[in-house]
Symmetry: C2
C-alpha cells in the first residue's frame, strides 16, 4: 500500500492527525532509566506503546539516532520494526544531495530503515529530490517554511512559495507533501493556495509554541488528504518520572483530541 493510502487509512481508523516525533536524547531520559542505548530502547518501546493508539504516524528524527553512533542507527531499525504495521513511519532526515548521492540516501531510508516516507531539503533542486520522488509508493515531505527562527534567513519572503510551486509541479505521482511550520500560521493559507492538495507535515505546535487552531484552518484543504500535526518533545518528555509513558500517552491523546475538535469546527468567523 502506498504511503498516502496507508496514512489516510490510519487517520480514518484512529481519528487522529497527530504525528509522534521520536527524538531521544540521553540526557533527557526519565531519571530511573540508564543513560545508555539500553535506556533509549526501553524509553522508545514504552513511548510507542503508550502513544500508538493516538498516533496517525511516527516520525523518528535520524539526528538523534546518529548522535548515538552506528549502534544508535541499529536501534532505529529495531524501533521502526516495532511500530505497529498500520501506522506509517516518516523518516525525518532532511536529506538532499546530487542525484547519484540522493539515490543512496533513498535506498538507505526506504530499504535499510524501512520508512514509508521521508523529509528532504529542496536547496539542491529537482535532481537532488528525484530519487526520493520516483518512489511513488513512498511519501516525500519537502521542507517549505520551517518552524525555526532561521526560516527568515532564506525561506522568507518568497523562496518558500517558489518551493511550494515546484513541489506541486513535481507531484505527478501524488506522493509529495510539504513541511510547514506552525509558528507562522498567517503564511499557511498562501502555501495551500500555491500547493494544491497534498499533505502538510506541521511541526512547531508543542515545544516550539505555534498556534494550533489558526494553523489547521489554513492548512486543511477540501480533500481527504490529511495534514499531520507533529509533536515530539512535548510528548516524550511530558514527565521525567516512572510515569513518563503514561504521561506521554495522556498528552498524545489530549493533543489528538484537540486537533480533531479544531479540525471539525468551522473556522472562527468572529461571530458568537
Amino acid at each position: 500500500m502506498s504511503f498516502i493510502r496507508l496514512l489516510q487509512a490510519r487517520v480514518e481508523v484512529s481519528g487522529s492527525k497527530l504525528c509522534v516525533g521520536l527524538d531521544p536524547v540521553l540526557e533527557r531520559l526519565p531519571e530511573h532509566l540508564p543513560k545508555s542505548l539500553e535506556g533509549v530502547r526501553s524509553f522508545l518501546e514504552q513511548i510507542i506503546r503508550a502513544t500508538a493508539p493516538h498516533a496517525a504516524a511516527f516520525k523518528p528524527n535520524f539526528a538523534y539516532f546518529e548522535a548515538l553512533g552506528p549502534a544508535g542507527l541499529e536501534l532505529l531499525q529495531e524501533v521502526i520494526r516495532k511500530i505497529p504495521e498500520a501506522i506509517p513511519v516518516i523518516g525525518d532526515a532532511k536529506r538532499g544531495d546530487i542525484g547519484s548521492s540522493s539515490e543512496q540516501y533513498a535506498r538507505a531510508i526506504f530499504e535499510q530503515w524501512g520508512c514509508h516516507a521521508v523529509t528532504v531539503s529542496p536547496y539542491m533542486g529537482t535532481d537532488s529530490l528525484e530519487p526520493f520522488m520516483a518512489r511513488a509508493d513512498r511519501g516525500v515531505f519537502v521542507l517549505c517554511l520551517t518552524s525555526n527562527p532561521g526560516a527568515e534567513d532564506f525561506q522568507l519572503p518568497g523562496l518558500y512559495l517558489q518551493v511550494a510551486r515546484k513541489v506541486r509541479a513535481w507531484n505527478t505521482s501524488g506522493n509529495l507533501g510539504l513541511v510547514v511550520g506552525a509558528t507562522r500560521p498567517e503564511t499557511i493559507g498562501d502555501i495551500r493556495t500555491v500547493s494544491g492538495p497534498m499533505p502538510f507535515l506541521i511541526p512547531g505546535v508543542g515545544a516550539q509554541g505555534g498556534a494550533l487552531e489558526a494553523t489547521l484552518h489554513q492548512a486543511q484543504d477540501e480533500t481527504s488528504i490529511p495534514c499531520l500535526i507533529n509533536a515530539s518533545r512535548s510528548l516524550l518528555y511530558a514527565s521525567s518520572g516512572e510515569d513518563f509513558a503514561q504521561a506521554a500517552g495522556v498528552s498524545a491523546q489530549a493533543l489528538a483530541e484537540e486537533i480533531a475538535a479544531v479540525s471539525g469546527k468551522a473556522p472562527s468567523s468572529g461571530q458568537p
Copy 2:
C-alpha cells in the same frame, strides 16, 4: 589543531589541493572484489593508501555508507580511523535541521565519526547551522552554488549570493567555507567577491565535467586559505580491474599536479 590549520599544513606538505571523495557503490566495485561490506572495506583501504600521498583531504559522503545500513556506518568509522592523521576528513553529509536537532547531527559527525569538517545545507538558516559553526576547531562548508542541474531551481539567480553573504557574516571564528560547483565557472568570481577569504570546496570537475582552469582562477583569493578541488568517481572507478588502486593513485597524482600547475599560472589574459 583546528581544521583550517590542519588543511593549510597538509596543502603545504603535500603540494596538493585535491580532495578525494569516498563514494563506494557495491555495484561499481572492481570485478574481483566481493559485492559486500568486506569488499567495500578492502576497496577503500586500498584507495586511501594509493591516493593519500596526493590528497589534501578525504571526503567520505555519508549517503554511500548509509545505503549499506548500520554496518556501513560502522565501516565509515573504521575507514576514517585509517586515514593518516595529517590528512583532514570532511564528512559530506549536507545536514541541516532545527537547532536542537542539528546539535545532534554535529555530535554525530564530529564526535561519533570524528570528522574534522562537515558539509551543511543552508535552507533552514542560522540556528540550523549554529551547532556546527560553534565548533571553532571544526570546518563547516555551507552549500552555496552546487554542481548539479538542480542548482538552477532555487539557488540561481540570487539565492547563492545571499547564502555567501550570510556565511561571510557568520564567519567570526574563521572556520566556515562554501561548496561551490565547478560546473558554472562564470559565477565563482562573484561568489568570491561576496564571501571574502574562506576555503571553497569545489566538486564537479571529474565525472561532472567542470572546467578546472577557469574555476581555480576565479576561486583562489590572495590569502593562503586553500580551495579544494574534489574528485570522487573519476578516481575511485578509474579502473575496474585488479589495478584499481594503482589507477586511482595515478589519476589522483595527475589531477593534483594539474591543479598545482594551473594554480601556479597567472590567469590567462588572452595574450600569447
